[in-house]
């Protein structure tokens, strides 16, 4: 399914604040943070205080100028960005929440988003008992997580290409039994890295569009178009099996588009926020499409996709888990527990090397899976705020 938002998340919006917040819904207004205001005008960057206790600090930045502005919190070298609020339109306010260690920092604004900025001033986070220490190995660990994930994506797409070739050959030759047996198994390689594949806006609809998402007059290609032909029993009355020509055209397009995808993922690298947001995006896919049985309308192999999305999210989480243990061990513990509970529920539905069909699940089993997706989703969606520098 095409989801514009994932590509926005993945490629666009880097939330760059140092926001090492704890991993639960903020329902405790008594939790202590220091609230400061920043007035970003054409000529100044007035912060309401030039020091605050180390820990959680909220800068409420108001743009009183007439240009788009940004607010920066810089390290004591005056250069490295510790946190920023970007793209603040004239007259608007935006909050930057950071967790600061004790030490010296600088604040500055950049009206017009160009040049050296205005109002650069010293800011001190004063020592408290609770202040954390900086892990100097952190940068190296982030690099390692990034490159490991790039290898994973590349490997999954390699397997997708191989699997698609076999599937395509069987379907084109009219060996429908073999094609059906390869369908879900091959698609798992797509679903594991679905958010990456979806970030190439034009490829996703060509490869993974559901019939309901078609626009009038639009050509339907990709996996689900073939799925319907392979499982015609539940198609609408009057559905006619595809001609040999149509089979050939669909097959050739599928193979070619998959090859294009393969080319596009070579040499990709991923920022930390792209990884954490990717994990979140994969679980959203489960919540909106898989747990409802809407993804695989005719084959009902939704649980294969479900597991594959979870696999992909789990790989992303495992890649950053060491980092998370340093900054928010409670969130890590919560994610460990919820991932394991979800896996237990999925394992209970395994049959052979696959899964029960969605249509064979009882309402209670579906409900339990849906509840556990929510249970995992809530802490998982804190991951970016808890980790990203």
């Amino acid at each position: 399914m095409p989801h514009v938002l994932h590509s926005v998340r993945l490629l666009g919006v880097g939330v760059l604040g140092v926001t090492l917040l704890s991993g639960c819904v903020a329902n405790n207004p008594a939790a202590s943070h220091t609230a400061l205001t920043v007035d970003s005008s054409a000529t100044n960057c007035a912060v309401s205080a030039n020091e605050a206790p180390a820990g959680s600090i909220r800068f409420s930045v108001t743009n009183s100028g007439d240009q788009v502005t940004e607010f920066y919190l810089l390290a004591d070298d005056g250069r490295r960005i510790v946190g920023e609020a970007e793209n603040i339109g004239p007259g608007l306010s935006r909050d930057l929440v950071v967790q600061l260690d004790a030490g010296r920092y600088f604040t500055a604004c950049k009206p017009g988003m160009a040049g050296d900025g205005v109002g650069k001033a010293e800011f001190t986070a004063t020592k408290t008992d609770a202040a954390a220490t900086v892990d100097v190995e952190r940068a190296a660990q982030i690099d390692s997580a990034n490159s490991d994930y790039a290898v994973y994506v590349s490997d999954q797409i390699d397997q997708l290409v191989t699997g698609t070739d076999s599937f395509a050959a069987a379907y084109m030759n009219g060996d429908d039994d073999t094609a059906r047996s390869l369908y879900a198994k091959t698609r798992v390689h797509w679903e594991r890295v679905e958010t990456i594949a979806e970030s190439f806006g034009d490829l996703d609809p060509k490869l993974d569009l559901r019939e309901a998402d078609l626009e009038e007059g639009q050509d339907w290609t990709g996996w689900h178009a073939i799925e319907k032909d392979l499982w015609p029993a539940e198609a609408e009355a009057g559905f006619e099996a595809y001609s040999a020509d149509k089979r050939r055209a669909l097959t050739e397009q599928l193979v070619a588009d998959t090859q294009t995808l393969h080319t596009k993922v070579q040499g990709l690298s991923f920022t930390l926020s792209q990884q954490t947001n990717g994990a979140i995006g994969l679980l959203d896919e489960v919540a909106t499409g898989k747990v409802t049985g809407e993804e695989e309308t005719w084959s009902h192999t939704d649980l294969w996709d479900f597991q594959a999305n979870v696999d992909g999210a789990r790989v992303l989480y495992d890649g950053v888990r060491r980092l998370l243990l340093q900054t928010d061990p409670d969130l890590a513990a919560s994610l460990d527990t919820e991932f394991a509970s979800l896996q237990t529920l999925l394992d209970a539905q395994r049959v052979g090397d696959g899964f029960k069909l969605y249509t064979d699940l009882t309402p209670a089993e579906i409900r339990a899976l849906a509840d556990q997706v929510n249970a995992l989703g809530e802490p998982l969606n804190q991951l970016t705020a808890a980790l990203v520098l």
Binding site: H3, V4, L5, H6, V8, R9, G12, V13, V15, N63, V68, E70, E86, N87, G89, P90, G91, L92, S93, M113, A212, D213, L214, E215, E216, Q218, D284, A287, T288, V291, T292, E294, P363, I366, R367, A370, D371, N374, G377, E378, N381, T384, A385
Partner: protein
């Protein structure tokens, strides 16, 4: 009739002296059909000859002396006028919307009679009176009350009742012209096209007739639909209906902009009653548009839009604001200013990307991005319990009024293809109705169509 027999037999005292009830029963099916045709009003007065469609019960008078002195409670909008109410009327807080199918076998004359009965009852309720000559509690003791009675003592709270005619009233899916009106069907009154992502439930879509009842008191709106559907028994039956509990648009500059269930202000740049040129240009069907019977009317589009609340609630604030293109707090466009500042779709921020992204809802829905097209939105929030997965069955019951269905289709196609919001919503119900113009006192809704 089976029911009256049961009731009688379970009440020995009444049965003993209940000549009316045995008379009524022995009158047989023809008579029963006749009663039904006359509507509930005459049914309630069984045994009393010559009851017309009178009105009773001075609810308005009672209301005016009630404790509630607020404008929203005391507002009364006259039913008769040059346009139907409930369109540019300042959007009330509550909705009960109902779509009906005309019953099999109903004739043209019976349909006209239904529309006459509905008109009189709607006018009565809009004025704060009960339905029927005797109303809720003043009629014959051995007859069902004409009015169901749950609105007794309540002010109208701005009740409006708006009627519409669906495409199938003119021609069924099988091509049958049941009422001899196919030649009067407006060219634009054809089912809406399939939009990408549509996941429509037939049971929540379409219909021969519709009634939109709006009030600031939910019980008053429900009372209206309940009594109008009772009046229709035997001639038309409910196909689907929808309650809405919080308006999501303002249709007057005197109203604050409300919030949808995503927590965002919605409808900031909606058409307002105080912009008569825009209303004339975008909402009312003109004489030259045709057909003549629809002049002064409009087209109503209803879409039941389910929100994936749970996924939305755990999305980042940055993403939520990017999706809408407005701030969640004040509702100002991300290009700056305050709520009513015009969005600047060009103003760029980092990496020369526009502050209001290409897929932002406010951009795609804005008239400047849709060749000047505007529609008058009049939707409501709904929460109908939860689904089998434990998710809130919640969303937006979208209603819009426009001069031509093509206005809606153009904007919705743009949204369905590109809107970032599609990640969190799904259209599950859809309907289109032609809303006749205003009803002169003494006439009935759709009189010109059947003239």
């Amino acid at each position: 009739m089976t029911r009256s027999l049961k009731n009688s037999s379970s009440r020995p005292y009444r049965a003993e002296s209940g000549n009316e009830s045995s008379d009524t029963f022995s009158a047989g099916p023809t008579s029963a059909r006749g009663l039904s045709r006359r509507g509930l009003l005459s049914l309630a007065g069984a045994g009393v000859a010559g009851i017309g469609l009178g009105v009773a019960g001075e609810r308005a008078a009672m209301a005016s002396s009630s404790a509630s002195g607020s404008a929203s409670a005391s507002a009364v909008y006259p039913f008769y006028g040059s346009h139907q109410t409930g369109i540019v009327t300042p959007a009330q807080d509550r909705l009960h919307f109902a779509a009906f199918d005309v019953s099999a076998g109903t004739t043209r004359a019976e349909l006209i009679e239904l529309l006459q009965d509905w008109t009189i009852a709607a006018a009565s309720m809009s004025a704060g009176r009960d339905v029927g000559e005797y109303g809720a509690v003043s009629g014959p003791y051995d007859a069902p009350p004409e009015d169901s009675g749950e609105a007794q003592g309540l002010p109208t709270a701005g009740l409006t009742i708006t009627f519409g005619f669906g495409p199938t009233l003119f021609e069924t899916a099988d091509g049958v012209d049941r009422f001899g009106i196919i030649s009067r069907r407006p060219a634009g009154l054809t089912p809406l096209p399939h939009f990408p992502g549509d996941d429509l439930d037939e049971g929540r879509s379409d219909g021969d007739l519709c009634i939109q009842a709006c009030s600031n008191d939910p019980q008053v709106a429900v009372h209206a639909i309940r009594n109008l559907s009772r009046i229709a028994f035997g001639r038309a039956g409910l196909r689907w209906s929808q309650l809405g509990f919080g308006r999501t648009s303002s249709t007057s500059t005197t109203q604050d902009t409300p919030r949808n269930l995503f927590g965002f202000k919605d409808g900031t740049s909606n058409i307002k009653a105080e912009e008569p040129e825009v209303v004339t240009d975008q909402v009312w069907v003109s004489v030259s548009d045709g057909p003549a019977w629809l002049a002064g009317g409009s087209y109503l589009v209803a879409r039941r839009i389910r929100m994936t609340i749970e996924t939305w609630d755990r999305s980042f604030l940055s993403e939520q604001e990017a999706v809408f293109g407005r701030t969640k707090g004040s509702g100002a466009p991300l290009s700056g200013g305050t709520e009513f500042t015009e969005p600047d779709f060009v103003l760029a921020g980092r990496e020369d990307q526009p502050l209001i992204s290409a897929a932002a809802h406010v951009r795609l829905a804005h008239s400047t991005q849709n060749k000047g097209i505007k529609i008058l939105r009049r939707g409501y929030n709904f929460v109908d319990g939860n689904d089998e997965l434990g998710r809130l069955e919640a969303g937006l019951f979208f209603i819009s009024f426009q001069r031509s269905p093509a206005q809606f289709t153009a904007v919705q196609l743009n949204l369905a293809k590109h809107d970032a919001l599609n990640e969190y919503i799904r259209h599950v119900g859809s309907a289109l109705f032609a809303v006749p113009g205003g009803i002169p006192d003494g006439s009935f809704v759709g009189a010109a169509l059947f003239a």
